[in-house]
Amino acid sequence: MALPELKQSATEARLATLSLPDGGCLEAARAAAVSRVQTLGLPDRRDEYWKYTRPDTLVTADTPSAKVFVSGETPIFDGFDRLKIVFVDGVFDADASDDLSLDGITVERLADVSAKDIHWVKDLYGVLEARGQTPVARPLASLNTAFATDGVVIHVTGKPSKPISLIYKHGDESSDALLHHLIRVETGAEATILENGPAASRFNKVTEIDIADGGTLHHVRAQGRDHERRAATHMFTRLGAESVFKSFTLTVNGVLTRNEQVIELTGDDAVAHVAGACVGDGDFHHDDTVFITHDAVNCESRQVFKKVLRNGATGVFQGKILVKEGAQKTDGYQISQSLLLDDDSQFLAKPELEIYADDVACSHGSTSGAIDEDALFYLRSRGVPHGDATDLLTLSFLAEAVEEIEDEAIAEELVTRLEGWLARRR
């Protein structure tokens, strides 16, 4: 089917600004992704899947500029023992990064891998992204597969002693970065991935994650700092039997952030938890879009998303649980809640269930409202000042999401950051 004229021209204009990197063994995958983009067309405001978030600035041929924010604050996770991998405006910085060798894990640069002819990467690159195009198109991810200029390939074969930390620095006010990472977790292996940093003026990132039977992956991400930045990120995760995937994202600031999580439970007894907390102020726009497919027996999925919004900030949640025929004994849970601190902010949600198996227990809940006056009164009557009481209630509202993080030290670090954010707005 031919694309509508405007979509066609917008897609062509964007494609014209990009050139295919040297493909090596990924050449075919990149070429296929280009044709996916051409068939699907890049998103525009008429797309149902973009009903609540305007994709214009994520698609335009020109990169919208974003000021680099400089502060004296130590970046998040700085005090942690971790394996640092640094990207500046989407380009790997070897000098700032640690030595990439660590027991139980192999880390390579995408460019180095694609030069080799035989590699497991060849069978994964673009594969999960392509699977994730149905039933809903995610053309920005295909654009990434085709044109990603950098990224890392992480092979988890054991239990590395420290987390792998991906740090995205922003240096150029009009940088347009496309990063593509691949993570494969082998049977019985377990690792933690951390991500943080503003990355670029416009950031398009895809992570494809393949977790073999019995593998475990923890993921914690903090998106913050530069207010004018824009980001569209996709994580495509496939889970084998008895595997575990737990992901948490904290977002503060950012004029436009869309985080898509596409998760497929393909082996029995697998577990996937995705959670997110965001705090937004002013022209902040944050969109969590989650699509979880249950295609095996006795799997569990959990989505917990909390948004605190003020001064006209917008929070979006689109979450879907799809239970395929035969995926019996599914346990699916989803909650999305927003706390609107003033009258100008808005929360837009579309929590969906699509279920084709009868022996399941799926539920979703969504609420929106202001701070509970009774709780506020209770604290005030016990001598807690108004500002402190509001912050306390805000933090306790976010707690349910933060508690999804298993590592207590990491969770504590995030809470500290949230406290700082709230304190600065008093």
Partner: protein, 506 residues
């Protein structure tokens, strides 16, 4: 169920039992009235629109209104966002107007109506007599006489056959008649309100309806009047290859109250038939409307052949402060349902309620829900939706709750529960929630589960057979909605819940 027709009772089983079983396991209303009909030529075009308008003896402005709608419809595309699939409808391959020959000369009173038509409604359990008691309702005799009267407007294919209790209603100042009569007799009211809630080009099917609607009901309740009895419209599709397009317009003036019931059935046929209705309700200050539907169009057979495509637009506009609308629907029929009774809560402190049971079995598909658009301050809405899916059916709840920036201190509570019976059916929930101020509170809850084994076991243990047990559990699941129905409907609905699930167990 052909097998049952040949069924011979075992010794010791009496014939009444066999008859009872036969009766409840089939679609009761699948028979056809053999009556001479008059059709407009097949297809739809401006000439047909003019013809329908002419048959209803409409004034020029109405014909013009219809023609404009038709011109708009030609430019629109059929929507495809609902989770339903059906073969492409050939809009030119059906009749848009069919009326019994005997209705050519409009009967002046019910006594003049063709006995065959009266017999049809008698058989459906809706006798068109101004009697005190609705037939077939046990226990109704014991109720006070005042509470039992129901005025009925009976629509047969494209025309209204008759309306009962008109004289008595007139005394109270209530106008209850067919819409075609209202266009002739009360043009000022129709002109003022028609198309103000569902605009002509609102959506594909509403636009088609605006062009070709043939009849329907009209209700006007004057200020500070409590309608002395329940009003009801009964829609019957009889003719083959004919679409039914009815239009209902209800106006509740300041401080008035009315309870309105709607029922519908159609004969059993192999080919699908189209039904595209529009219902508009205007509710002024302090007025209240209760609108209840038991939708029991022919759902198609066990192989999914035939049935009604039910594409309906229903909307209530709570214009006045403290106005209230309550939608209650029991959707058990139709092969495909596409229906979202909505509430525009414009007046301050206005209230909208939506209670729904949608049951799908065999190959039925239902995509139904509501829209609660909060525009005024202190508005309240409540949604309780129960979807039950059995056989190979698909059941979707689709809804919108929208809190506009000016709708301060508003409140919404939504609960959608789905129940799955069998491993080949589907149950889906697609809610949209848009909150644009912080003094409003929105809560949404949804669950999907199967019939609880423990509950079934408990019933079975006490001697119920499996189908009875499922029906009981399902009735319990639907309780909140069944309780919102007027008494006459609640009984029928409870029976329907059991019938619709017949054959879905095991």
């Amino acid at each position: 169920m052909a097998a049952l027709d040949k069924f011979e009772a075992k010794e010791g089983v009496d014939q009444d039992t066999v008859d009872a079983v036969r009766e409840i396991s089939t679609y009761k209303y699948g028979w056809e009235t053999d009556i001479e009909m008059e059709y407009a030529p097949k297809g739809v075009n401006p000439d047909i629109v003019r013809l329908i308008s002419g048959k209803n003896e409409e004034p020029e402005w109405m014909t013009e209104w219809r023609l404009q709608a038709f011109a708009r419809w030609e430019k629109l595309e059929e929507p495809d966002w609902a989770m339903v699939t059906y073969p492409k409808i050939d809009f030119q391959d059906q009749y848009y107007y069919a009326r019994p020959k005997s209705m050519e000369e409009k009967p002046k009173s019910l006594d003049e109506v063709d006995p065959k038509l009266l017999a049809t409604y008698e058989k459906l359990g809706i006798p068109l007599k101004e009697q005190m008691i609705l037939a077939g309702i046990e226990g109704a005799e014991d109720m006070p006489a005042e509470g039992r009267k129901v005025a009925v407007d009976a629509v047969f294919d494209s025309v209204s056959v008759g309306t009962t209790f008109q004289a008595e209603l007139k005394k109270a100042g209530v106008i209850f008649c067919s819409i075609s009569e209202a266009i002739r007799e009360h043009p000022e009211l129709v002109k003022k309100y028609l198309g103000t809630v569902v605009p002509v080009s609102d959506n594909y099917y509403a636009t088609l309806n605006s062009a070709v609607f043939s009849d329907g009901s009209f209700v006007y309740i004057p200020p500070n009047t409590r309608c002395p009895m329940e009003l009801s419209t009964y829609f019957r599709i009889n003719a083959e290859n004919t679409g039914q397009f009815e239009r209902t317009l209800i106006i509740a003036d300041k401080g008035s109250y009315v309870s309105y019931l709607e029922g519908c059935t159609a004969p059993q046929r192999d080919t699908a038939q189209l039904h595209a209705a529009v219902v508009e309700i205007i509710i002024e200050e302090d007025a209240e409307v209760k609108y209840s539907t038991v939708q029991n169009w022919f759902p198609g057979d066990e192989e999914g052949k035939g049935g009604i495509y039910n594409f309906v637009t229903k909307r209530a506009d709570c214009r006045g402060d403290r106005s209230k609308i309550m939608w209650t629907q029991v959707e058990t029929g139709s092969a495909v349902t596409w229906k979202y009774p909505s509430c525009i809560l414009r007046g301050e402190e206005s209230q909208g309620e939506f209670y729904s049971i949608a049951i799908t079995n065999n190959y039925q598909q239902a995509d139904t829900g509501t829209k609660m658009v909060h525009l005024g301050k202190n508005t309240k809405s409540r949604i309780v939706s129960k979807g039950i899916s059995a056989g190979k059916a698909q059941n979707t709840y689709r809804g919108l709750v929208s809190m506009h920036p000016k709708a301060k201190n508003s409140r919404n509570y939504t609960q959608c529960d789905s129940l799955l019976i069998g491993s080949e059916c589907g149950a889906h929930t697609v809610p949209y929630i848009e909150v644009k101020n912080n003094s409003s509170r929105v809560e949404h809850e949804a669950t999907t589960s199967k019939v609880d084994d423990d509950q079934l076991f408990y019933c079975r243990q006490r001697g119920m057979d499996e189908e009875e047990a499922v029906a009981l559990v399902v009735n319990g699941f639907c309780k909140e909605v069944l309780q919102a129905l007027p008494m006459e409907f609640a009984m029928e609905a409870q029976q329907l819940v059991a019938i619709s699930l017949e054959g879905s167990v095991g």
